[in-house]
Amino acid sequence: MMRPIFRVARATFHEAWRRRFLNGILIFAILIIGSSWVFAYLQPGAELQMIIDIGLGSIRFFGMLIAVFLGTRLIPDEIERRTVHTILAKPVSRAQFVFGKFLGGVATIAVNLVVMGIAFYIVFAIKAPQFAAAKPEDALIFAAMYSNIAKAIVLAFFEVWLVLGIAVVASTLFSWVLSVIVTFVIYFVGQMADFFQQLSDPERGASKLAQILLGTLYRVLPHFEIFDIREAILQGTYTPWSTLLQIIGQGLAYLVVILLIGYLVFNEREV
């Protein structure tokens, strides 16, 4: 049952690297990460914080861009170019096809993020000791920083994969432009989830109906902010693996929901 999925995934993975636009994004991301080095110099008194923020921010932002522009095209391209006909005529179910395409996207993004992550980690590893030496009183924070940053990067993977899932499913429902917009909207709104929670707080005085609506919206939306452990990085808090696994678990749960929706929609799709 799994083999066709992996075959499709592998074919997708190889094909994805031919998309120049995506490679361009990757290169641009690496340039930005590299240049954070210079930014830090330009700002007197700026701390390692800036490098970390720009680095992690770039990984997440450009990863998200790749996820959207790759994910929304994975299935439509196959349909528009009619390459899907010969594949679905083979013993590959629609579910296996969608999931295989998605997995191929997952692999592509994984490689992209690893490259960006390495670039960032190099810049960070070179700069960090300098700052650590300058501020010995922050030794505890620095000690935890390396592992915290690695954990943050791991969480970024899951955040971007979740966006990919949304993008792929959106592309089965809407036209390309609309699916791109929908994915971005869900992402931004998901990031702002705590805003809805604040709004639905009875103290804010919104109407009961609005409170319920907003509260439900908050519950249903994927909460992208759970992947953010920046505070731990800055405060030197040790982030236990149990928390990490729970966060990843939640992300995966949302991913399963989204892929399930995608399957239900695509299973009726005529090609």
């Binding site: 008194g45 009183e137 759970i226 452990i229 920046r230 731990a232 405060q235 939640q250 239900l264």
Partner: protein, 349 residues
Amino acid sequence: MKSYKIIGWLAVLALLVAVQPLDRSVEYDRLVLGLQQPTPWFQIAARGSAGDTELAVTGVTGVIVGAALGGFREVAATMLWMKTHEYWHKGEALQAKALWLMRLVTLLDPHWLEPWRVTAWHLAYNLYVETDDPALRAKYLQMGVDCLKEGVSWNPDRYDLYLELGWTYFDKVEDFEEANKWFKAAMLYPHPEYVDRLVGHAYERMPDIPRSLDAYDYCLKRDPQDHTAKGATLTIRERYLIPWYLAEQGKYDEALAAINEYLLAKPNSSLGLHVKGAIAEQAGKLRLAYDTWKLAGDISQLDFLAQSKAVQLAHELGIETEDTAQYLYMQKVGKDLKVSMPGRDTMAR
């Protein structure tokens, strides 16, 4: 609808419901670990619509808003921060704008210490010197201090802003008691070693000789090789201890004689004059105290404590004087400028 579809959508619903407990658990964990950073949307909005006419919203470009909303708050804060520097250096007209942006940065990223520090510095130091009006200066001091206090409330586990706050009190307001309060707070967390010595310096200048010796003692216990502490201890013992002890015992005339002896050799020593002024005040010789503090203030323009004390004594004596910024500030916060020497509250030590 086909049966598998019904099952499928029910499964979707079931999963969404099943995820909720996990969601709560994660939320709780994040809260406990301090990872939750709810965006202070309402605070930002409130500031944006505050009555203060200086607040202008330009400079916050669409990109920054997008970044702030899209989960890239820190990047937005970084970008905004760079912009504020740009505005600040463009001259006075844009400084208010720059200040508002700086406060926005602190809201967007409250755990980034740099903006708090720099904003407070701009207020207490730079804007302070741009005006000559003592009342306005006092206001800027207040704003700087308030800014740091807010920063501290966001970052209670870091020494940095406690130190900044303490230093502002130490250097600009010269309210050494308050300064030490904050220095000692900083010492509760991992901090650089010079903070410990600052406590001693502050007590020295207050002046409170016994406490300063205690502070240096603590430094030496922590690090027997601390040369500065050692040197300070020796100096204090040599110069100020005897006058102080004499004053403690109520032998004011002998105390004054002792300190005068030192001042003969070093007439411009501000610490010596501080001690003399404190003794005089304690002895009830207000005129002498006034003259001493006045002299100290005149010798060193930056000796704000001396100036404040001079103003206070001038008011008491009915001498015409101009209120300094620091004096006005202390008045506003209801600070008592009276010297406290043991003999009055030995037990409190």
